[in-house]
């Protein structure tokens, strides 16, 4: 294809400025945050005194931050597990019906259109220990339960029980995403494969494990990466639903960072937390982006 130099120059004169602005706001600001994380900045006015890795050392020995990391790990595992198992099941079920499929699909997907803030406000009410789910079970089943839900301070092997309602609320919101991805993946599997499997007499389970799951692997992987980076960054939902909780049972790095930076003015500490969050996300995202770049070059 013929592309004149002039046209290429015009194209670059549009893309490059956009890219440069974005690069400053992404890479430049990350560099700036990194710099702040090496300083002793506490208080409203900047203090650029260099303290090296001291902030990071302090963070990793701070109990609140240790809890936050543990909460992030447990939350991510249960949240991803919830969404994948539930979303996958819903997609497989929906794929088997035609009448009403669109209605069900819309019911499973609409939470994605809603703000995490709204989700947080509603689910906080639903899991309210005195009037929420407990009251519903008490009045319908007649069993008197007094679960403390997100106010529970107990834990099992480091997993805070109070995280369960948060996992359910987040799962409620994002299960539809996995379902939509799996449905799109199922549609892309050639019908002939299923036909020949049927001729061979393959049952439902063999179809699931020998055809569906191998075909869906790439889609599931990118869906997991998207959900994984959401769970590593989680803030809005928890901030509105439970806050950091008693003894930090529902605290996350995102909340710690926000509170310590913008309410406590411990800028260096906040910068340190956000750099650790960035590194966690980068571990997941950079291989993914690298694979895209490699694919594009072919």
């Amino acid at each position: 294809m013929v592309r004149s130099r002039k046209d290429i120059a015009i194209g670059m004169s549009i893309v490059i400025p956009c890219f440069l602005v974005l690069a400053v706001f992404v890479y430049g600001f990350i560099g700036w945050t990194l710099t702040v994380s090496f300083t002793a900045w506490e208080g409203v006015l900047p203090n650029w005194e260099f303290v090296g890795l001291k902030n990071f050392a302090t963070l990793f020995s701070t109990q609140r931050f240790q809890i936050d990391l543990l909460n992030t790990v447990f939350f991510s595992i249960f949240f991803l597990g919830f969404c994948v198992l539930f979303g996958f099941t819903l997609a497989i079920l929906l794929d088997k019906i035609t009448t009403g499929a669109a209605v069900f699909r819309n019911i499973f997907l609409f939470p994605l259109a809603i703000s995490f803030v709204v989700t947080g406000v509603i689910w906080r009410w639903i899991f309210n220990p005195s009037v929420g789910i407990n009251a519903l079970i008490n009045s319908t089943v007649g069993v008197n339960i007094a679960w403390r839900w997100y106010t529970d301070t107990s834990s099992v092997c480091g997993f805070h029980i109070a995280l369960i309602p948060v996992v359910i609320a987040a799962g409620w919101q994002l299960t539809g995403y996995i379902m939509a991805m799996v449905l799109a993946g199922l549609r892309a599997i050639p019908v002939e494969i299923f036909e020949s499997a049927a001729i061979d007499g393959a049952g439902e389970f063999r179809k699931l494990f020998n055809i569906i799951i191998p075909h869906l692997k790439p889609i599931l992987l990118s869906a997991l990466i998207v959900l994984g980076h959401i769970s590593l960054k989680i803030f809005d939902l928890v901030y509105t639903m439970t806050g950091r909780g008693t003894a930090f049972v529902t605290d996350f790095p995102g909340i710690y960072m926000f509170e310590t930076t913008f309410q406590g003015h411990f800028y260096a500490e906040g910068a340190g937390i956000s750099i650790i969050m960035l590194m966690l996300v980068a571990i997941v995202i950079i291989p993914y982006l690298y694979s895209i770049l490699k694919k594009e070059r072919v």
């Binding site: 015009i10 194209g11 974005l22 009403g100 809603i114 709204v118 406000v121 409620w172 995102g254």
Partner: protein
């Protein structure tokens, strides 16, 4: 009767299986609709009914009192959200379209690298740029107001809008560009007369996606718009739930109002919403 036949007779008939399938789907639907039920029944209750704590029952006497209260509280911030979301959505869509077009049809050297470096920006935890962002906005005098927030959403919206448009344009055959070239059109003429007119589906997807995300966004909003008069609706809702702690009916009515615009878009244009959802990851 042989063993095999015995097992066969236990197998469910096709009709029973269908029934089971629908029953399972209906039960799952109840889980997804439960918050909407709670939202609606609570927001139509009066304060007296809510304080009795019977949250699951239908309202004995439906009233709009909670909506009125929520609306006086959230009304101004609802307008703020519109002032924020509409320009930020349109400008980021337009920029994404231009960038996506050039990056897919006029690949210069290093275009792919630029694209991937841009994409990284949509995955970063925004906490990691928040401190410099606040300092920067303070320096240029845009901290605390909606203009600053609009600019922030345009910039950080660039990766996703560019991605969606780039994927869309890469499906368009190069011959179309070449035909335009033969007709004497350069890069911008081709965009204006050939590409832009057939971009409507992509614009719908991107506009819906950006509108939903910017409307729903919270972290930038709460950090940048400290001034209550400039707050978008998500921040105001969070405030509301802090001030009306006991008045759950007002909180639920407020949540309903805050969710309404994006919910309506989803109901009317759901098909395009799902396309945006998939565009972010399926094709990369």
């Amino acid at each position: 009767m042989s063993l095999l036949q015995n097992i066969r007779s236990f197998k469910l008939t096709l009709k029973q299986r269908k029934m089971g399938l629908y029953l399972t789907l209906i039960i799952c639907s109840l889980f997804f609709l439960l918050p909407i039920y709670v939202l609606l029944v609570t927001s139509f209750k009066g304060f007296a009914e809510v304080s009795e704590g019977n949250m699951w029952a239908l309202p004995l006497k439906a009233t709009f009192a909670a909506f009125e209260k929520a609306f006086t509280k959230l009304g101004p911030s609802f307008i703020n959200s519109l002032i924020l979301t509409v320009p930020a959505t349109l400008i980021s869509a337009l920029l994404g379209s231009l960038n996506g077009y050039i990056l897919s049809k006029w690949r210069f050297k290093g275009a792919n690298l630029i694209f991937v470096l841009m994409l990284f920006g949509m995955f970063i935890p925004y906490q990691s740029i928040l401190i410099p962002l606040v300092q920067f906005l303070q320096k240029i005098g845009l901290y605390g107001n909606l203009i600053g927030l609009i600019i922030v959403h345009i910039i950080y919206g660039l990766p996703i809008t560019t991605l969606i448009f780039r994927n869309y344009y890469s499906e368009i055959p190069d011959e179309l560009i070449e035909a335009a070239h033969v007709d004497g059109q350069g890069i911008m003429g081709t965009y204006l007369y050939i590409i832009f007119p057939i971009s409507l589906p992509a614009f719908v997807v991107v506009i819906i996606w950006q509108f939903t995300n910017i409307w729903n966004e919270f972290l930038f909003a709460i950090t940048i718009t400290q001034n209550p008069e400039q707050q978008p609706v998500t921040v105001a809702l969070q405030d509301l739930s802090g001030t009306f702690i006991k008045e759950w009916n007002v909180q639920m009515a407020g949540a309903f109002l805050a969710a309404l615009p994006t919910l309506l878009i989803y109901i009317i244009l759901g098909k395009y919403f799902i396309r945006g959802l998939l565009a972010g990851s399926v094709k990369g």
